[in-house]
Symmetry: C2
Subunit: 438 residues, 2 copies
């Protein structure tokens, strides 16, 4: 039995309650859990009934007293949102305490400022719960994959949209209908924008990219497209062509970058993407998340599990507290940090011009059902040296037809030129869909 570690909890909602419940029932868990002592908990309302048994002295409505309590070694922030979370995290760091947070929004936007303050104070800020719920992905990126040159991190990191996409694919249901039911079931918020517009996934891929490549990028500049404009027929056509549609978040190293003093060029993006049905990400169903890491020499590894929920998220929070407790027992907490666990940035990264990003594309055109239209569309691609994997006509009738094209890899700029040329064809009445494709 080592030194006891005092834990202060900011927030006692579903995740906070899950954390408290683990700390109060250490039996059958790692024995180090028994060394964690829940000291104080900041809540909004002292009178509200709680699922965990806490004494009145442990509860307070003033989070500052938790941060300042000298018995608290680690502050756990599970309030969410930007403020007061950001200020409380910085106050805890200033008070010499390590911080554990599940707050992706504050880390994606203020991670640099927070990391700098933590390094100056000699404390840890750990964020396993901020991405992928219970899935261990932050620690593996920081510790287990450090020998690799990481080339790409991609994944399904928003459970709400994956739930919607899974049901659209399984039932041929329309987006609006599934969203409404997801809201009724509590899988989607009343205001679903953060999920369905891809903003939550963009926060998370910004965090993963910082860890994978050693430096942050401007969160606001990440090209982000959600699923709210996705149409059921594209999910159906994709399936007929051997693909599933997933909301993928991607961070990848661009080919030209070299190890130098200059910034490492990255592409980050969030977009609905066709995934071949044999691809490991294609089988990720419902509210699950999965993150695929590609590097040299490891090849591909994937981490899969529940992307949200009180239990899984609490598991990740407790993992971080345990890591701090373990290293404190080894080091005595004298302010020297484990550089893997501390995970400071070690170089600058920048986003490339999206026009230079190469990938495969899925596009669907509404056309007249006229002879030669497939040839003319194919010609617009061929004229710009864009190779096509397939052109397929769906739903031909006197009213017109739909033509679906899947290209090989091409940069966005040339793709846009080809699309402009195709839209100018007299037989083409419009570009009905445009998705990425793995």
């Amino acid at each position: 039995m080592g030194a006891r570690i005092g834990v202060g909890l900011l927030g006692l909602g579903t995740v906070g309650g899950g954390v408290a419940s683990i700390l109060l029932s250490p039996q059958e868990r790692h024995p180090l859990v028994a060394d964690l002592e829940l000291i104080r908990v900041a809540v909004r309302d002292l009178q509200r009934p709680r699922p965990v048994d806490l004494s009145p002295e442990q509860l307070t409505t003033d989070p500052q007293t938790v941060v300042e309590d000298p018995r608290v070694d680690v502050v756990v922030e599970v309030i969410g949102g930007i403020e007061p979370a950001r200020s409380l995290i910085l106050a805890a760091i200033k008070a010499g305490k390590s911080v554990v947070t599940a707050n992706k929004a504050v880390i994606a936007r203020h991670g640099g400022e927070i990391a700098q303050a933590a390094a100056a104070a000699g404390v840890y800020v750990l964020i396993e719960a901020a991405v992928g719920g219970g899935i261990p992905i932050i620690e593996p990126l920081k510790q287990s994959l450090g020998g690799n040159r990481i080339n790409r991190v991609s994944g399904i990191i928003n459970g709400t949209t994956n739930y919607i996409l899974t049901r659209m694919a399984d039932e041929g249901a329309a987006y609006e209908d599934v969203l409404a039911e997801a809201q009724r079931l509590g899988y989607a918020e009343a205001d679903p924008a953060a999920d369905v517009d891809g903003l939550d996934a963009a926060d998370k891929i910004a965090i993963l990219s910082t860890l994978a490549f050693g430096g942050g990028v401007d969160r606001q500049s990440i090209p982000t497209e959600g699923i709210s404009r996705l149409q059921g027929e594209d999910v159906d056509y994709a399936r007929q062509l051997g693909y599933g549609v997933k909301l993928l978040a991607v961070a990848e190293r661009m080919a030209t970058s070299e190890a130098s003093a200059e910034a490492l060029a990255l592409s980050l993006r969030v977009q609905p993407t066709l995934v071949p049905s044999h691809h490991p990400l294609a089988g990720v169903q419902g509210v699950n998340n999965a993150i695929l890491v590609e590097g040299d020499p490891i090849g591909q590894v994937m981490f899969y599990g529940p992307g949200a929920g009180a239990g899984p998220t609490a598991s990740a929070v407790v993992a971080d507290i345990l890591n701090i407790a373990g290293i404190r027992q080894a080091s005595g907490g004298d302010g020297r940090l484990d550089p893997l666990l501390a995970a400071g940035s070690w170089r600058s990264c920048s986003l490339v011009d999206p026009g230079n990003v190469r990938q495969r594309h899925y596009v669907r055109f509404n056309t007249q059902d006229a002879p030669g239209v497939i040839g003319r569309i194919g010609g617009c691609f061929g004229d710009r040296d864009i190779s096509i994997q397939s052109i397929v006509q769906f739903n031909a009738s006197s009213a017109g037809a739909e033509i679906v094209v899947i290209t090989h890899e091409v940069d966005q700029r040339r793709m846009d030129e080809a699309l402009a040329a195709i839209r100018a064809l007299p037989e083409v009445s419009g570009l009905a869909a445009h998705l990425g494709c793995l």
Copy 2:
């Protein structure tokens, strides 16, 4: 830049060469890799050409000089086999050095002795590369999942057999033919027993179980069945019923166990098992591995990736060296250990009587094509309160028929009684196959 860490390498085969190659090219990897210095390397033959550029002074044919070199902080053992690997690991520990090893055989058999010596000497013995090749699974079990009560660890942890099973399923090929080709391609050894008889998987599940449940079990008592008796028709019938056949290794907590001073009751086993096609493990193809961890409150998480190969295994070895280097920079290496990373046993575990293990079963009988035989077989199960999910007759002809039964969960003892009764039926000429079923 922190203190440099001296690395001594025992063995320069494919994995050792991969490790050396990472250490000699730190660019684009975690900056801590640049703090690792390859000091000395023990090889069998000094004259053999090497893929990495080492000076003659770095090479020796005497592993003991590597272990004893005062500049060496971490000894990496990638010789394999039991001896001299075990003695060299113990000698390194005695010399006060941390050890990193990819040697599942020595850890599965002598892990207790080695862990005890390491704890006494205040050094780490890290084994990420021993299970799952490059997949981070040891570190997550030790560090990221410590807040959980682990209930089950199961997985596909032998790449050779999964390659064989994948080709049998995809091509309808016979076991012997695929094995011969796997040997020609270098995916299977000339003597394939360790892989196809499940011994390698049993070594690995013994190691995972020790970490998941906090104590070791007797390696030799793990019920182990390989794939060498598996017949192509069972792979085919399983597919028709919506299952794939995988060689699964399982370690699970038995229902009756309580947190007490007594040993925790576990079931460990290796056996060919039907996996429903929608299950996350069903999609694991070829030489890939995947490990599914189930716990409370996390639910299910899965780790997937390349289960073998020089690059992935070297990635895991370097991860362990980095972990030791990182914690040394935090603690100054004064002999206090991080209890998560050190991962000592904290309780005793024991294997239950296999007769008490409950699971679903797949059995195939050769029978006469007589009316009523399905009813009589069903009756033998029903008489013993064994629920059946399906009974299907395949290949009926005048020569006889094959009857395949998939049961619900039942303990092994009652299942054996039912099988004895069925074999005694005059219409049944034999039990042709008996596999597990998820």
